[in-house]
């Protein structure tokens, strides 16, 4: 089966094995290895990517289902080798320990901020409840998301 899709802003037309899991397609065929597998059953969120700007578990999607859709992975958030403000905030706020949950966390946060630019803490917790972290205790992660929202809305000066 040949399908059209957009991945991180680039259009593709590719021959696919339709029932291949999206996570395997992204990692093995498209060489986007930032997306991680943690459970394979839609519980941990480390495989989170965006389809048409909505956060989804890529371990539960078969690649034929992304036909004519726009996919964004963690690699799609940096431009010209520069990480985006959310990624920078994760580093500054100590929200990255082993880093395994981080791409999924950042994709969920990206989807949240595109829907709710100034989320309350409970809204961040709700939106990211599907992303587990075994290292950090979550506080630094929530701080990083809040910090990014505040800078974007002008409440905080980003120092530039």
């Amino acid at each position: 089966m040949k399908i059209n899709f957009v991945l991180n802003g680039t259009r593709y037309k590719k021959e696919i094995d339709p029932a291949q899991r999206l996570i395997d397609f992204l990692r093995d065929e498209m060489r986007m290895t930032g997306t991680k597998e943690g459970c394979g059953e839609g519980e941990c969120g480390s495989c989170t990517v965006l389809i048409d700007n909505k956060a989804v578990h890529s371990c539960l999607i078969l690649v034929a289902q992304i036909r004519d859709k726009e996919i964004t992975t963690i690699e799609g958030l940096s431009k010209n080798g520069e990480i985006c403000d959310l990624q920078q905030a994760f580093i500054e706020k100590g929200a990255v320990q082993c880093g395994y949950c981080t791409p999924g966390m950042i994709m969920s946060a990206t989807a949240l901020l595109s829907e709710i630019p100034s989320p309350k803490t409970e809204q961040i917790e709700q939106a990211m409840a599907g992303n587990l972290c075994r290292c950090s205790g979550y506080t630094a992660i929530i701080n990083a998301v809040e910090h990014t929202a505040n800078i974007r809305s002008g409440i905080l000066d980003d120092g530039n």
Binding site: R21, G40, G42, A64
Partner: protein, 286 residues
């Protein structure tokens, strides 16, 4: 997964053609949040998948006279934000918001929840309390309407024929104002499978309960109706409804349904929390 053939129909007519295909083990793929988990675990090995995600008509949510029609591939996040559902069936909104995580809610479908027929399926108690039915289609193109209460008959078991697919959910919109709510208890606050759930559908006029429908989920193999409590509540002033009245009757309904089950004592106790929530939800009708 290698060696699986997949069909991607764009319309309901194309779906009917796909259903005619001869194969060993066909499966319908909608959101994939149940099916693909089973496939990943090696528990289900279909040789043919029909992907419904490309059929736009299966994602409509629209009013047709005094009926609400919901496409079977409508996802939970879409349902939770839909004005027709928000304005008419609050229990469905609450059930939609409480399923899984954001990622699951962006993919999981109402049709899939019904067809999966889990005793803990969150869509089922509210839909049964609302007298909802499914509209199905089969390989001969014949459509059929079935009450959801009749459709689901056991754990993961329903009356759908092997070539039959749910395409719409049909809910009668009541002429009078109804109080509909859904309550769920799980092992966690969120991203949790229901250990116990209740859907209520009350008609309250001048502070008196005119009609009550109470459906318990995640107790028996299929949903249970709390008939004894429904009869007790009819004609009662809402100010005279106590938590103990609700909790004791609901606990009896649970005991009758699952005698000897290991979780019996837990559920008889936990239902008190839901009784409290029911009181809180009718409080503003006082």
């Amino acid at each position: 997964m290698m060696g699986i053939e997949m069909a991607i129909p764009r319309t309901i007519n194309e779906l009917v053609t796909c259903l005619q295909k001869k194969c060993y083990f066909p499966k319908i793929l909608a959101g994939g949040t149940d099916l693909v988990v089973s496939m990943n675990e090696g528990n289900i090995k279909p040789d043919y998948l029909i992907d419904l995600s490309g059929i736009d008509e299966l994602r409509i949510i629209e009013r047709s006279g005094d009926t609400l029609l919901i496409g079977a591939c409508s996802v939970y996040s879409q349902m939770a934000e839909n004005d027709l559902i928000i304005n008419n069936f609050k229990s469905l909104v609450q059930a939609s918001e409480g399923i899984g995580s954001k990622q699951i809610r962006n993919r999981g479908t109402i049709g899939g929840n019904i067809a999966n027929s889990s005793p803990a399926g969150d869509m089922i108690p509210p839909l049964v309390s609302l007298n909802a039915s499914v509209i199905t289609i089969n390989s001969a193109g014949i459509r059929c309407e079935k009450l959801i209460d009749d459709l689901i008959i056991g754990v993961g078991k329903n009356k759908l024929a092997p070539d039959e697919v749910i395409i719409f959910i049909k809910i009668p919109i009541p002429r009078e104002e109804r109080l509909t709510r859904f309550f769920k208890i799980g092992n966690r606050r969120t991203v949790t499978i229901a250990r116990l759930s209740v859907a209520i559908n009350f008609e309250i006029t001048d502070h008196i309960v005119e009609d009550a429908v109470i459906i318990l989920g995640a107790v028996g193999q299929t949903v249970i109706r709390a008939k004894e409590l429904e009869e007790v509540l009819k004609g009662l002033k809402i100010s005279s409804i106590s938590m103990d009245l609700l909790a004791e009757s609901l606990a009896r309904a649970i005991e009758v349904s699952i005698p000897g089950r290991a979780s019996l004592n837990y559920k008889k106790e936990a239902i008190r929390g839901i009784a409290d929530d029911i009181i809180a939800s009718i409080a503003d009708k006082l």
